[in-house]
């Protein structure tokens, strides 16, 4: 989040990077994700997901700034529509970004969310008022499941 303008970044909420490199990824309820690739729709809902507010992306990635402030975030994200259907197979080495295959739908998404961090509470405007810059849903296989 940014100060009005938008000005300086003032909040950077994420679950952190694990020691093995797992990036900003956290378990959520399996029931919180619903997908229908035939219709091009999907949704993700989660409540009270633990995050930290790092303030800035630089602090989140490299440290050097204030200690992160713990908090929780709840969110609903909805994907809908079928702008494009694409099949991808990338046989490049995994370290180079390859080693995966999938069937994807490029579409649009919207989100509403709330959070509590330190002295602050956050309540987004309704889902309908948000917009996506890029959105996709699909089915993917990688690693040991890569054909």
């Amino acid at each position: 989040m940014y100060e009005p303008g938008p000005g300086a970044q003032s909040h950077d909420l994420n679950p952190g990077i694990k020691t093995d490199g797992l990036f900003w990824t956290i378990a959520i309820s399996n029931d919180g994700v619903k997908v229908d690739l035939g219709k091009g729709v999907a949704s993700m809902k989660a409540t009270n997901v633990p995050i930290d507010d790092y303030g800035t992306i630089g602090n989140a990635l490299f440290g050097g700034g204030p200690a992160p402030i713990p908090g929780v975030v709840s969110f609903t994200v909805e994907w809908r529509g079928v702008n494009e259907r694409i099949n991808i197979r990338n046989d490049d080495p995994p370290a180079s970004g390859g080693g995966f295959a999938g069937e994807f739908i490029r579409n649009t998404a919207q989100m509403e969310w709330t959070a509590t961090v330190g002295d602050f509470t956050f309540v987004s405007d309704p889902l309908e008022t948000s917009s996506s810059v890029f959105a996709e849903i699909g089915h993917e296989r990688n690693g040991g499941f890569f054909p």
Binding site: I17, T19, D20, L61, G64, W113, F120, S124, E140, N142
Partner: protein, 163 residues
């Protein structure tokens, strides 16, 4: 982004870091004008500040979360910034190819979703009562739901979010 693009990215980062080195306190830093919490142009900010802060007594690392058992493993590849690999790609973002991998976990077979989202949020300071309306820009939200091999080598079913 792929490996072909990394030199260009690193050049841009070095240029920005150089800019930062010659900046002064008391004004807005270049990264504070960046568009997104997640947009990878922003990550240049971290590269810019890291050199100046490694020797400080401030909080030192974003790699602070211990890995537990039964957790998924990160994808092997990712974005390289300042010589450090961040195990995530940004398909469709900042000129990155849209065909990059959206998942952040490996040994995975399942559904994925990714979106970069813009909107407005109301922030309330519960101590002072001050209320502000702030933009959230290019917020990167993803899910991965399906079968994965965990850190203990077991195949499991689960769902994960990149927040």
């Amino acid at each position: 982004m792929n490996f072909r693009d990394i030199p260009m990215w690193e050049s841009a980062i070095k240029a920005r870091a150089h800019h930062h080195t010659h900046s002064h306190t008391g004004h807005t830093h270049f990264w504070q004008h960046a568009m997104s919490r997640r947009q990878f142009a922003r990550t240049a900010a971290g590269t810019a500040v890291v050199g100046a802060t490694l020797a400080s007594g401030l909080w030192r690392s974003g790699l602070a979360k211990a890995t537990g058992s039964n957790e998924p493993l990160p994808i092997p590849g990712g974005i390289i910034l300042g010589g450090q690999t961040f195990h995530v790609f940004g398909p469709g973002l900042s000129g990155n190819p849209p065909d990059q991998e959206p998942s952040t976990i490996t040994d995975f077979n399942g559904f994925v979703g990714l979106a970069y989202l813009n909107g407005m949020v109301t922030r309330t300071n519960m101590q002072t009562g001050e209320v502000d309306t702030l933009p959230f820009l290019f917020s990167d939200m993803r899910f991965m739901q399906g079968v994965f091999r965990d850190t203990d080598g077991r195949v499991q079913q689960g769902a994960f979010a990149l927040v």
